[in-house]
Symmetry: C2
Subunit: 71 residues, 2 copies
């Protein structure tokens, strides 16, 4: 599967698990709300620095966000 889709799906799932809105996750990570929304649509290929930043807020391993088998 294309990596952006894997990341988008994992990002959305972990954000929902933490009961965070796009706005709340964006605020915690210090990025724009529209950027989070775009990442969840696979519009951009995030940098690994951004993956780490979002993983930290979501309290998951960065690698888990790129894992197609991640639950």
């Amino acid at each position: 599967m294309e990596i952006r889709k894997v990341f988008a799906r994992n990002l959305r799932r972990h954000r929902h698990k933490k009961k965070l809105s796009h706005e709340a996750l964006a605020h915690e990570a210090g990025v724009d709300r529209t950027y989070i929304s775009a990442l969840e649509r696979g519009v951009y290929g995030a940098s690994i620095d951004m993956v780490q930043k979002l993983a930290k807020v979501l309290e998951v391993d960065p690698a888990a966000l790129l894992d197609p088998r991640s639950e």
Copy 2:
């Protein structure tokens, strides 16, 4: 650990496992040799698209390249 260091270490290890030089990996992935060298020094935060591209050449899962416990 900082994600760039994790990625740098995993990239180098898997490149060595495949017995590929910087040049050979760069050629296979369609990037510049100096870019591979820079990634292995943590100079840049690669995009997830680049992680996937390199993972494909190295025949590993993209997530494995961001896993600090990856062997």
